[in-house]
Symmetry: C2
Subunit: 192 residues, 2 copies
DNA sequence: CCGCTATTGTACCGTTCGGTACAACCACAA
DNA sequence: TTGTGGTTGTACCGAACGGTACAATAGCGG
Protein backbone atom coordinates (compact mmCIF):
# COMPACT_ATOMS: atom_id res chain seq x y z
CA UNK A 1 0.00 0.00 0.00
CA UNK A 2 1.41 3.39 -1.00
CA UNK A 3 2.12 6.01 1.67
CA UNK A 4 -1.23 7.53 0.96
CA UNK A 5 -0.24 11.20 0.71
CA UNK A 6 -3.89 11.97 0.31
CA UNK A 7 -5.50 14.86 2.08
CA UNK A 8 -8.53 14.15 4.18
CA UNK A 9 -10.63 15.88 1.57
CA UNK A 10 -9.33 13.65 -1.17
CA UNK A 11 -10.04 10.58 0.93
CA UNK A 12 -13.59 11.76 1.52
CA UNK A 13 -14.07 12.37 -2.16
CA UNK A 14 -13.02 8.85 -2.98
CA UNK A 15 -15.37 7.51 -0.35
CA UNK A 16 -18.08 9.59 -1.93
CA UNK A 17 -17.62 7.90 -5.27
CA UNK A 18 -18.19 4.46 -3.79
CA UNK A 19 -21.12 5.48 -1.62
CA UNK A 20 -22.95 7.25 -4.39
CA UNK A 21 -22.52 4.34 -6.79
CA UNK A 22 -23.16 1.48 -4.40
CA UNK A 23 -25.27 2.97 -1.65
CA UNK A 24 -24.56 2.41 2.01
CA UNK A 25 -25.38 -1.28 2.23
CA UNK A 26 -23.58 -2.02 -1.02
CA UNK A 27 -20.38 -0.23 -0.09
CA UNK A 28 -18.13 -2.71 1.71
CA UNK A 29 -15.11 -1.78 3.77
CA UNK A 30 -12.95 -3.67 1.30
CA UNK A 31 -14.22 -1.50 -1.52
CA UNK A 32 -13.86 1.69 0.46
CA UNK A 33 -10.35 0.63 1.37
CA UNK A 34 -9.42 -0.07 -2.22
CA UNK A 35 -10.95 3.15 -3.50
CA UNK A 36 -9.01 5.27 -1.02
CA UNK A 37 -5.81 3.28 -1.08
CA UNK A 38 -5.99 3.16 2.70
CA UNK A 39 -5.92 -0.05 4.69
CA UNK A 40 -8.67 -0.80 7.12
CA UNK A 41 -6.57 0.31 10.04
CA UNK A 42 -6.00 3.71 8.47
CA UNK A 43 -9.64 4.01 7.60
CA UNK A 44 -10.58 3.31 11.20
CA UNK A 45 -7.92 5.68 12.37
CA UNK A 46 -9.55 8.56 10.54
CA UNK A 47 -13.12 7.35 10.92
CA UNK A 48 -13.29 5.53 14.27
CA UNK A 49 -16.95 4.62 13.90
CA UNK A 50 -16.46 2.92 10.56
CA UNK A 51 -18.89 3.28 7.70
CA UNK A 52 -21.12 5.43 9.82
CA UNK A 53 -18.41 8.01 10.36
CA UNK A 54 -17.34 7.86 6.74
CA UNK A 55 -20.87 8.44 5.54
CA UNK A 56 -21.32 11.36 7.88
CA UNK A 57 -18.05 12.85 6.70
CA UNK A 58 -19.11 12.38 3.12
CA UNK A 59 -22.42 14.07 3.80
CA UNK A 60 -20.73 16.97 5.57
CA UNK A 61 -18.34 17.38 2.67
CA UNK A 62 -21.22 17.27 0.22
CA UNK A 63 -23.04 19.93 2.20
CA UNK A 64 -19.99 22.20 1.95
CA UNK A 65 -19.59 21.55 -1.74
CA UNK A 66 -23.23 22.27 -2.43
CA UNK A 67 -23.08 25.36 -0.28
CA UNK A 68 -20.40 27.00 -2.35
CA UNK A 69 -21.16 25.56 -5.75
CA UNK A 70 -24.94 25.62 -5.68
CA UNK A 71 -26.57 27.49 -2.82
CA UNK A 72 -24.29 30.50 -2.73
CA UNK A 73 -24.73 31.26 -6.45
CA UNK A 74 -28.47 30.83 -6.05
CA UNK A 75 -28.50 33.37 -3.22
CA UNK A 76 -26.20 35.80 -4.98
CA UNK A 77 -27.61 38.89 -6.66
CA UNK A 78 -28.55 38.80 -10.32
CA UNK A 79 -31.50 37.99 -12.55
CA UNK A 80 -33.48 34.97 -11.39
CA UNK A 81 -33.23 33.28 -14.73
CA UNK A 82 -29.49 33.51 -14.81
CA UNK A 83 -29.17 32.10 -11.31
CA UNK A 84 -31.38 29.15 -12.15
CA UNK A 85 -29.46 28.54 -15.35
CA UNK A 86 -26.27 28.50 -13.34
CA UNK A 87 -27.74 25.87 -11.03
CA UNK A 88 -28.73 23.74 -14.01
CA UNK A 89 -25.25 23.99 -15.46
CA UNK A 90 -23.59 23.10 -12.20
CA UNK A 91 -25.87 20.12 -11.70
CA UNK A 92 -25.26 18.88 -15.20
CA UNK A 93 -21.54 18.66 -14.66
CA UNK A 94 -21.95 17.41 -11.09
CA UNK A 95 -24.07 14.47 -12.21
CA UNK A 96 -22.21 14.05 -15.50
CA UNK A 97 -25.37 14.48 -17.55
CA UNK A 98 -27.27 11.96 -15.47
CA UNK A 99 -24.69 9.23 -15.71
CA UNK A 100 -23.67 9.72 -12.09
CA UNK A 101 -26.08 8.80 -9.31
CA UNK A 102 -27.18 11.05 -6.48
CA UNK A 103 -25.73 10.28 -3.07
CA UNK A 104 -28.80 11.66 -1.35
CA UNK A 105 -31.12 9.55 -3.42
CA UNK A 106 -29.12 6.43 -2.61
CA UNK A 107 -29.12 7.10 1.12
CA UNK A 108 -32.86 7.51 1.64
CA UNK A 109 -33.17 3.75 1.59
CA UNK A 110 -33.73 1.21 4.34
CA UNK A 111 -32.22 1.86 7.72
CA UNK A 112 -29.81 4.47 6.40
CA UNK A 113 -32.70 6.84 5.83
CA UNK A 114 -33.32 7.02 9.55
CA UNK A 115 -29.68 6.85 10.53
CA UNK A 116 -28.72 9.92 8.51
CA UNK A 117 -32.10 11.54 8.41
CA UNK A 118 -30.98 14.78 10.01
CA UNK A 119 -28.14 15.35 7.56
CA UNK A 120 -30.23 14.38 4.56
CA UNK A 121 -33.18 16.51 5.53
CA UNK A 122 -30.92 19.49 6.20
CA UNK A 123 -29.35 19.35 2.76
CA UNK A 124 -32.67 18.99 1.01
CA UNK A 125 -34.06 21.85 3.06
CA UNK A 126 -31.19 24.18 2.26
CA UNK A 127 -31.46 23.38 -1.40
CA UNK A 128 -35.19 24.01 -1.52
CA UNK A 129 -34.85 27.18 0.51
CA UNK A 130 -32.20 28.56 -1.84
CA UNK A 131 -34.34 27.96 -4.89
CA UNK A 132 -37.32 29.46 -3.13
CA UNK A 133 -35.36 32.66 -2.52
CA UNK A 134 -34.77 32.99 -6.23
CA UNK A 135 -38.44 32.51 -6.95
CA UNK A 136 -39.44 35.02 -4.32
CA UNK A 137 -37.03 37.46 -5.94
CA UNK A 138 -38.81 36.74 -9.19
CA UNK A 139 -42.02 37.89 -7.62
CA UNK A 140 -43.79 34.72 -6.58
CA UNK A 141 -45.63 34.36 -3.31
CA UNK A 142 -43.95 32.63 -0.44
CA UNK A 143 -46.08 29.52 -0.74
CA UNK A 144 -45.81 29.29 -4.51
CA UNK A 145 -42.07 29.83 -4.38
CA UNK A 146 -41.80 27.07 -1.84
CA UNK A 147 -43.84 24.47 -3.70
CA UNK A 148 -42.10 25.25 -6.97
CA UNK A 149 -38.73 24.96 -5.30
CA UNK A 150 -39.69 21.57 -3.94
CA UNK A 151 -40.84 20.65 -7.39
CA UNK A 152 -37.46 21.61 -8.80
CA UNK A 153 -35.63 19.25 -6.44
CA UNK A 154 -38.22 16.58 -7.13
CA UNK A 155 -37.63 16.80 -10.86
CA UNK A 156 -33.88 16.69 -10.51
CA UNK A 157 -33.93 13.64 -8.25
CA UNK A 158 -36.57 11.95 -10.35
CA UNK A 159 -34.68 12.60 -13.55
CA UNK A 160 -31.63 10.92 -12.07
CA UNK A 161 -33.70 7.88 -11.15
CA UNK A 162 -35.28 7.63 -14.57
CA UNK A 163 -32.01 8.25 -16.36
CA UNK A 164 -30.41 5.42 -14.40
CA UNK A 165 -33.37 3.11 -14.78
CA UNK A 166 -34.13 3.62 -18.42
CA UNK A 167 -30.60 4.13 -19.68
CA UNK A 168 -31.85 6.95 -21.85
CA UNK A 169 -29.17 9.56 -22.06
CA UNK A 170 -31.11 12.72 -22.77
CA UNK A 171 -33.62 12.55 -19.95
CA UNK A 172 -31.56 14.33 -17.33
CA UNK A 173 -30.21 17.08 -19.54
CA UNK A 174 -33.62 17.81 -20.99
CA UNK A 175 -35.08 18.10 -17.52
CA UNK A 176 -32.37 20.55 -16.53
CA UNK A 177 -32.91 22.54 -19.70
CA UNK A 178 -36.63 22.94 -19.10
CA UNK A 179 -36.37 23.60 -15.40
CA UNK A 180 -35.56 27.33 -15.24
CA UNK A 181 -38.32 28.38 -17.61
CA UNK A 182 -40.85 26.12 -15.91
CA UNK A 183 -39.99 27.49 -12.50
CA UNK A 184 -40.38 31.06 -13.69
CA UNK A 185 -43.53 30.50 -15.74
CA UNK A 186 -46.39 32.78 -14.68
CA UNK A 187 -48.83 31.21 -12.26
CA UNK A 188 -52.05 30.05 -13.83
CA UNK A 189 -55.42 29.88 -12.15
CA UNK A 190 -56.20 26.35 -11.10
CA UNK A 191 -52.59 25.30 -11.28
CA UNK A 192 -49.95 25.50 -8.61
CA UNK B 1 -41.57 -22.63 11.33
CA UNK B 2 -45.23 -22.80 10.30
CA UNK B 3 -46.27 -25.02 7.40
CA UNK B 4 -46.22 -22.00 5.15
CA UNK B 5 -49.51 -22.46 3.30
CA UNK B 6 -48.66 -19.36 1.34
CA UNK B 7 -49.30 -19.12 -2.35
CA UNK B 8 -46.39 -18.23 -4.57
CA UNK B 9 -47.95 -14.83 -5.12
CA UNK B 10 -48.12 -14.17 -1.40
CA UNK B 11 -44.50 -15.18 -1.01
CA UNK B 12 -43.48 -12.81 -3.78
CA UNK B 13 -45.43 -10.01 -2.20
CA UNK B 14 -43.63 -10.48 1.08
CA UNK B 15 -40.31 -10.50 -0.72
CA UNK B 16 -41.36 -7.29 -2.40
CA UNK B 17 -41.85 -5.56 0.92
CA UNK B 18 -38.30 -6.30 2.02
CA UNK B 19 -36.71 -5.44 -1.31
CA UNK B 20 -38.48 -2.14 -1.65
CA UNK B 21 -37.59 -1.08 1.88
CA UNK B 22 -34.04 -2.35 2.02
CA UNK B 23 -32.91 -2.43 -1.58
CA UNK B 24 -31.11 -5.39 -3.09
CA UNK B 25 -27.84 -5.13 -1.20
CA UNK B 26 -29.62 -4.43 2.06
CA UNK B 27 -32.02 -7.36 1.82
CA UNK B 28 -30.35 -10.39 3.38
CA UNK B 29 -31.51 -13.95 2.96
CA UNK B 30 -32.19 -14.08 6.67
CA UNK B 31 -34.57 -11.15 6.38
CA UNK B 32 -36.24 -12.52 3.28
CA UNK B 33 -36.64 -15.82 5.07
CA UNK B 34 -38.19 -14.23 8.11
CA UNK B 35 -40.52 -12.05 6.07
CA UNK B 36 -41.87 -14.99 4.11
CA UNK B 37 -41.84 -17.49 6.94
CA UNK B 38 -39.93 -19.84 4.66
CA UNK B 39 -36.62 -21.38 5.59
CA UNK B 40 -33.67 -20.93 3.34
CA UNK B 41 -34.13 -24.37 1.86
CA UNK B 42 -37.69 -23.57 0.85
CA UNK B 43 -36.65 -20.22 -0.53
CA UNK B 44 -34.02 -21.93 -2.67
CA UNK B 45 -36.52 -24.56 -3.67
CA UNK B 46 -38.77 -21.94 -5.20
CA UNK B 47 -36.02 -19.57 -6.33
CA UNK B 48 -33.02 -21.74 -7.22
CA UNK B 49 -30.81 -18.80 -8.12
CA UNK B 50 -31.31 -17.08 -4.79
CA UNK B 51 -31.77 -13.35 -4.45
CA UNK B 52 -31.38 -12.92 -8.15
CA UNK B 53 -34.35 -15.16 -8.87
CA UNK B 54 -36.39 -13.62 -6.12
CA UNK B 55 -35.76 -10.14 -7.42
CA UNK B 56 -36.67 -11.14 -10.93
CA UNK B 57 -39.87 -12.75 -9.68
CA UNK B 58 -40.67 -9.63 -7.72
CA UNK B 59 -40.09 -7.46 -10.77
CA UNK B 60 -42.25 -9.73 -12.93
CA UNK B 61 -44.99 -9.61 -10.35
CA UNK B 62 -44.71 -5.85 -10.15
CA UNK B 63 -44.97 -5.60 -13.91
CA UNK B 64 -48.21 -7.60 -13.82
CA UNK B 65 -49.60 -5.52 -11.01
CA UNK B 66 -48.79 -2.28 -12.75
CA UNK B 67 -50.19 -3.61 -15.99
CA UNK B 68 -53.63 -4.19 -14.58
CA UNK B 69 -53.78 -1.48 -11.94
CA UNK B 70 -52.03 1.33 -13.78
CA UNK B 71 -51.36 0.81 -17.47
CA UNK B 72 -54.65 -0.79 -18.43
CA UNK B 73 -56.74 2.01 -16.90
CA UNK B 74 -54.51 4.56 -18.60
CA UNK B 75 -55.10 2.89 -21.95
CA UNK B 76 -58.84 2.44 -21.41
CA UNK B 77 -61.32 4.79 -23.09
CA UNK B 78 -62.51 7.86 -21.28
CA UNK B 79 -61.57 11.49 -20.78
CA UNK B 80 -57.83 12.06 -20.43
CA UNK B 81 -58.21 13.95 -17.20
CA UNK B 82 -60.17 11.20 -15.56
CA UNK B 83 -57.61 8.59 -16.61
CA UNK B 84 -54.73 10.62 -15.19
CA UNK B 85 -56.65 11.23 -11.99
CA UNK B 86 -57.16 7.50 -11.68
CA UNK B 87 -53.42 6.96 -12.04
CA UNK B 88 -52.74 9.51 -9.34
CA UNK B 89 -55.20 7.83 -7.00
CA UNK B 90 -53.77 4.39 -7.60
CA UNK B 91 -50.23 5.63 -7.01
CA UNK B 92 -51.21 7.37 -3.82
CA UNK B 93 -52.51 4.17 -2.28
CA UNK B 94 -49.71 2.09 -3.79
CA UNK B 95 -47.03 4.25 -2.19
CA UNK B 96 -49.10 4.96 0.93
CA UNK B 97 -48.94 8.71 0.39
CA UNK B 98 -45.17 8.66 -0.09
CA UNK B 99 -44.41 6.69 3.04
CA UNK B 100 -43.58 3.58 1.02
CA UNK B 101 -40.48 3.52 -1.19
CA UNK B 102 -40.36 2.65 -4.85
CA UNK B 103 -38.88 -0.71 -5.72
CA UNK B 104 -37.72 0.58 -9.07
CA UNK B 105 -36.00 3.55 -7.53
CA UNK B 106 -34.19 1.31 -5.06
CA UNK B 107 -32.96 -1.08 -7.74
CA UNK B 108 -31.32 1.44 -10.05
CA UNK B 109 -28.35 1.48 -7.73
CA UNK B 110 -24.90 -0.06 -7.98
CA UNK B 111 -24.51 -3.35 -9.71
CA UNK B 112 -28.22 -4.16 -9.51
CA UNK B 113 -28.94 -1.47 -12.05
CA UNK B 114 -27.06 -3.40 -14.69
CA UNK B 115 -28.15 -6.82 -13.48
CA UNK B 116 -31.85 -6.01 -13.81
CA UNK B 117 -31.57 -3.29 -16.38
CA UNK B 118 -33.79 -4.99 -18.93
CA UNK B 119 -36.66 -5.51 -16.52
CA UNK B 120 -36.35 -2.03 -15.05
CA UNK B 121 -36.15 -0.30 -18.39
CA UNK B 122 -39.13 -2.27 -19.69
CA UNK B 123 -41.35 -1.22 -16.81
CA UNK B 124 -40.35 2.43 -17.07
CA UNK B 125 -40.92 2.31 -20.81
CA UNK B 126 -44.39 0.79 -20.50
CA UNK B 127 -45.35 3.34 -17.93
CA UNK B 128 -44.16 6.27 -20.00
CA UNK B 129 -45.76 4.87 -23.12
CA UNK B 130 -49.12 4.48 -21.37
CA UNK B 131 -49.10 8.06 -20.14
CA UNK B 132 -48.03 9.26 -23.58
CA UNK B 133 -51.09 7.57 -25.12
CA UNK B 134 -53.34 9.56 -22.83
CA UNK B 135 -51.62 12.78 -23.78
CA UNK B 136 -51.81 11.97 -27.47
CA UNK B 137 -55.54 11.36 -26.98
CA UNK B 138 -55.68 14.77 -25.36
CA UNK B 139 -54.35 16.26 -28.58
CA UNK B 140 -50.65 16.72 -27.94
CA UNK B 141 -48.02 15.97 -30.53
CA UNK B 142 -46.14 12.72 -30.35
CA UNK B 143 -42.95 14.33 -29.11
CA UNK B 144 -44.63 16.57 -26.58
CA UNK B 145 -46.73 13.70 -25.28
CA UNK B 146 -43.56 11.67 -24.88
CA UNK B 147 -41.53 14.27 -23.01
CA UNK B 148 -44.43 15.13 -20.75
CA UNK B 149 -45.00 11.47 -20.00
CA UNK B 150 -41.35 11.11 -19.06
CA UNK B 151 -41.73 14.17 -16.91
CA UNK B 152 -44.67 12.59 -15.12
CA UNK B 153 -42.64 9.53 -14.15
CA UNK B 154 -39.76 11.78 -13.19
CA UNK B 155 -41.91 13.77 -10.84
CA UNK B 156 -43.40 10.69 -9.23
CA UNK B 157 -40.04 9.07 -8.61
CA UNK B 158 -38.51 12.33 -7.48
CA UNK B 159 -41.35 13.04 -5.11
CA UNK B 160 -40.81 9.65 -3.48
CA UNK B 161 -37.13 10.45 -3.01
CA UNK B 162 -37.78 13.85 -1.53
CA UNK B 163 -40.60 12.58 0.67
CA UNK B 164 -38.29 9.91 2.08
CA UNK B 165 -35.35 12.26 2.41
CA UNK B 166 -37.08 15.24 3.92
CA UNK B 167 -39.66 13.42 5.98
CA UNK B 168 -42.23 15.95 4.88
CA UNK B 169 -45.53 14.21 4.54
CA UNK B 170 -47.37 16.33 2.02
CA UNK B 171 -44.77 16.39 -0.72
CA UNK B 172 -45.85 13.24 -2.50
CA UNK B 173 -49.57 13.82 -2.34
CA UNK B 174 -49.24 17.39 -3.54
CA UNK B 175 -47.17 16.25 -6.48
CA UNK B 176 -49.81 13.70 -7.42
CA UNK B 177 -52.54 16.30 -7.08
CA UNK B 178 -50.85 18.74 -9.41
CA UNK B 179 -49.75 16.19 -11.95
CA UNK B 180 -52.88 15.68 -14.09
CA UNK B 181 -53.50 19.38 -14.66
CA UNK B 182 -49.84 20.06 -15.37
CA UNK B 183 -49.67 17.27 -17.90
CA UNK B 184 -52.76 18.55 -19.72
CA UNK B 185 -51.82 22.23 -19.57
CA UNK B 186 -51.74 23.84 -23.02
CA UNK B 187 -48.30 24.01 -24.59
CA UNK B 188 -46.67 27.41 -24.40
CA UNK B 189 -44.19 28.83 -26.83
CA UNK B 190 -40.66 28.52 -25.47
CA UNK B 191 -41.62 25.86 -23.02
CA UNK B 192 -41.75 22.10 -23.53
C1' DC C 1 20.68 11.57 16.99
C1' DC C 2 16.64 10.93 19.86
C1' DG C 3 11.97 10.42 21.07
C1' DC C 4 7.34 11.02 20.15
C1' DT C 5 3.08 10.82 17.68
C1' DA C 6 0.64 9.86 13.74
C1' DT C 7 0.03 6.47 10.71
C1' DT C 8 0.05 1.90 8.83
C1' DG C 9 0.43 -3.50 7.74
C1' DT C 10 -0.74 -7.77 9.47
C1' DA C 11 -3.15 -10.88 11.77
C1' DC C 12 -7.00 -11.87 13.81
C1' DC C 13 -11.91 -11.64 16.05
C1' DG C 14 -16.84 -13.26 15.97
C1' DT C 15 -20.78 -12.74 12.91
C1' DT C 16 -23.26 -12.89 8.94
C1' DC C 17 -23.22 -13.50 4.25
C1' DG C 18 -25.16 -16.36 0.11
C1' DG C 19 -25.53 -20.95 -0.83
C1' DT C 20 -25.64 -26.31 -0.47
C1' DA C 21 -26.36 -31.22 1.18
C1' DC C 22 -29.32 -34.21 2.89
C1' DA C 23 -32.41 -36.57 5.68
C1' DA C 24 -36.94 -36.26 7.23
C1' DC C 25 -41.35 -35.10 6.45
C1' DC C 26 -45.95 -34.64 4.40
C1' DA C 27 -50.01 -35.37 1.46
C1' DC C 28 -51.76 -38.27 -1.55
C1' DA C 29 -52.15 -41.89 -5.32
C1' DA C 30 -51.87 -46.70 -6.22
C1' DT D 1 -49.70 -50.06 2.87
C1' DT D 2 -46.33 -48.65 0.28
C1' DG D 3 -44.44 -45.70 -2.62
C1' DT D 4 -43.49 -41.14 -4.43
C1' DG D 5 -42.65 -36.24 -5.33
C1' DG D 6 -43.05 -31.95 -3.56
C1' DT D 7 -41.58 -29.70 0.47
C1' DT D 8 -39.02 -28.49 4.69
C1' DG D 9 -35.65 -28.26 9.02
C1' DT D 10 -31.05 -28.75 10.27
C1' DA D 11 -26.54 -28.65 9.81
C1' DC D 12 -23.05 -27.11 7.49
C1' DC D 13 -19.75 -24.74 3.90
C1' DG D 14 -16.19 -21.22 2.52
C1' DA D 15 -16.11 -16.41 1.87
C1' DA D 16 -16.87 -11.92 3.06
C1' DC D 17 -18.59 -8.96 6.40
C1' DG D 18 -17.58 -4.98 9.93
C1' DG D 19 -14.41 -4.25 13.31
C1' DT D 20 -10.20 -4.65 16.66
C1' DA D 21 -5.38 -5.39 18.61
C1' DC D 22 -1.00 -4.45 18.22
C1' DA D 23 3.48 -4.14 16.74
C1' DA D 24 6.11 -1.86 13.34
C1' DT D 25 6.99 1.97 10.83
C1' DA D 26 7.44 6.76 9.13
C1' DG D 27 8.05 11.44 9.65
C1' DC D 28 9.35 15.18 12.19
C1' DG D 29 10.56 18.48 16.08
C1' DG D 30 13.99 18.72 19.44
Amino acid sequence: MPPASLSRTEVIERLTVVLRQQGFAGASLAELSKATGLGKSSLYHYFPDGKDDMTRAVLAHLAEQLQEALFAPLLAPGPARRRLDAMAGTLNTFYRGGREACLLGNLVVGETRDRFHEELAAIFEQWIAAIAVVLRDAGFSRTLARTRAEDAVIRIEGALVLAAGSGQEGVFERTLRQLPADLLAPAKAGRD
